[in-house]
């Protein structure tokens, strides 16, 4: 009896815990428009695994210390990765066409960045990537 119960527990546990394996980071779509020209901030596999760490550290540096380097700046990411759709509008962050949401919706890992941050580059002229002209 105990064997059957523990087997059930083991199966349930595995199903719940390892179900995410079907959507691994390697299988995710990489919706980047390479026409921006600049090279990637970091190699793709590094970004996939650690982009949140870079963003987290940058958020602390920018808000608390006022350091506004462009490399890991969220606005910089947005300017490069978020391209307008065919009709000229920008994808909503709630749809999978948005670069960040493309992976995050599929992985069901909600991010709270865009509760506050702009999810699209605004109608300011972008002189070069990462620099918004005022």
């Amino acid at each position: 009896m105990y064997k059957r119960i523990s087997l059930k527990i083991l199966v349930t546990f595995s199903l719940v815990f390892f179900s995410g394996a079907s959507i691994t980071h390697e299988n995710m779509q990489h919706n980047i428009d390479k026409s921006s020209g600049e090279k990637c901030v970091e190699p793709t596999d590094v970004m996939r695994a650690q982009h949140h760490i870079f963003l987290n550290q940058q958020s602390h540096d920018t808000v608390v210390k006022g350091i506004r380097t462009k490399k890991y700046s969220l606005n910089n990411c947005i300017n490069c990765h978020i391209k307008p759709l065919a009709d000229g509008t920008y994808p909503s962050v709630k749809s999978e066409e948005h670069f960040c949401s493309g992976c995050h919706i599929a992985a069901a890992a909600q991010v709270e960045c865009f509760d506050c941050h702009a999810s699209k580059p605004f109608n300011k002229v972008v002189k070069k990537v990462g620099v918004l002209e005022k």
Binding site: H60, V63, G66, I67, R68, D115, H117, F122, K134
Partner: protein, 247 residues
């Protein structure tokens, strides 16, 4: 033989001293504006203390250029709900009880040196940056609103609804508390002025002056020395960075 031969004579001495003198003073003359232009990777400096001087003699009840400019700069929307809509800067109309004289006062976060809001924040989200700007770190803010209770100036607002069109340089969102941040994005990018001060100057009123309180040569420091100025609720001992003339 030495590579550089010193020609020790009076002519050279005078020439060299003059050059030394000029090259010492010239940067102060030509590069003064750039002295504040921080490099992007340079943190805010504790040597600076940003502040404002507001001359209410130049303010009128009808003008709210500063309020409009602030709202536009930071993407603050009007939802038609004045009790819950955010206001970073507002114009207060004061009427003196005895004489009934009326004064118009722009009021915003006073960026105190001893801010009550920083003291009471449980997570430390409300903090004072090295250069004196009091900010809310919205990554850490849990939206408890205790800082709003504690602010003597009622400077803070809570975002009561979902926001969608935030501007990239001013992230703001539902559930966090916010207040005037002295246009910190402009300061960090080298434009050492705030939207409200710029709008006021453009309108010709010259009521709001922004500058470095620690720099004795700045306009604001000179005006603070020249005119009688006041700190609102000075009895609380908060040492605000925003000072007023005309009240």
């Amino acid at each position: 033989m030495k590579k550089y031969e010193l020609k020790l004579n009076r002519r050279n001495f005078l020439k060299n001293s003059a050059m030394l003198g000029v090259s010492t003073i010239a940067p102060g003359v030509f590069f003064q504006e750039l002295a504040y232009g921080r490099a992007l990777d340079e943190p805010a400096s504790p040597k600076i203390r940003w502040g404002m001087l507001i001359n209410t003699n130049q303010c009128t009840d009808e003008c709210d250029a500063c309020v409009t400019a602030c709202n536009e700069e930071h993407g603050i929307e009007d939802f038609g709900r004045p009790t819950t809509d955010t206001q970073w800067i507002r114009k207060i109309t004061l009427t003196e009880e005895l004489s009934k004289k009326s004064i118009s006062v722009p009021m915003m976060c006073q960026h105190c040196e001893n801010p009550p809001c920083v003291d009471v924040c449980p997570t430390g989200a409300s903090f004072i940056r090295d250069d004196g700007i009091v900010l809310v770190n919205k990554h850490t803010c849990i939206g408890c609103r205790y800082c709003m209770m504690s602010c003597p100036y009622k400077a803070r607002s809570f975002v009561h609804e979902n926001l969608e069109n935030q501007l990239p340089h001013t992230p703001r969102g539902k559930g966090c508390v916010e207040s005037c941040n002295l246009c910190v994005h402009k300061i960090d990018n080298g434009e050492n002025n705030t939207a409200c001060a710029e709008a006021c100057q453009k309108d010709g009123h010259q009521a709001i002056l922004f500058g470095d309180l620690n720099d004795e040569e700045s306009d604001i420091s000179k005006q603070l020395k020249k005119y009688a100025t006041k700190e609102v609720r000075s009895d609380l001992g908060l040492n605000t960075a925003v000072r007023y003339r005309g009240i």
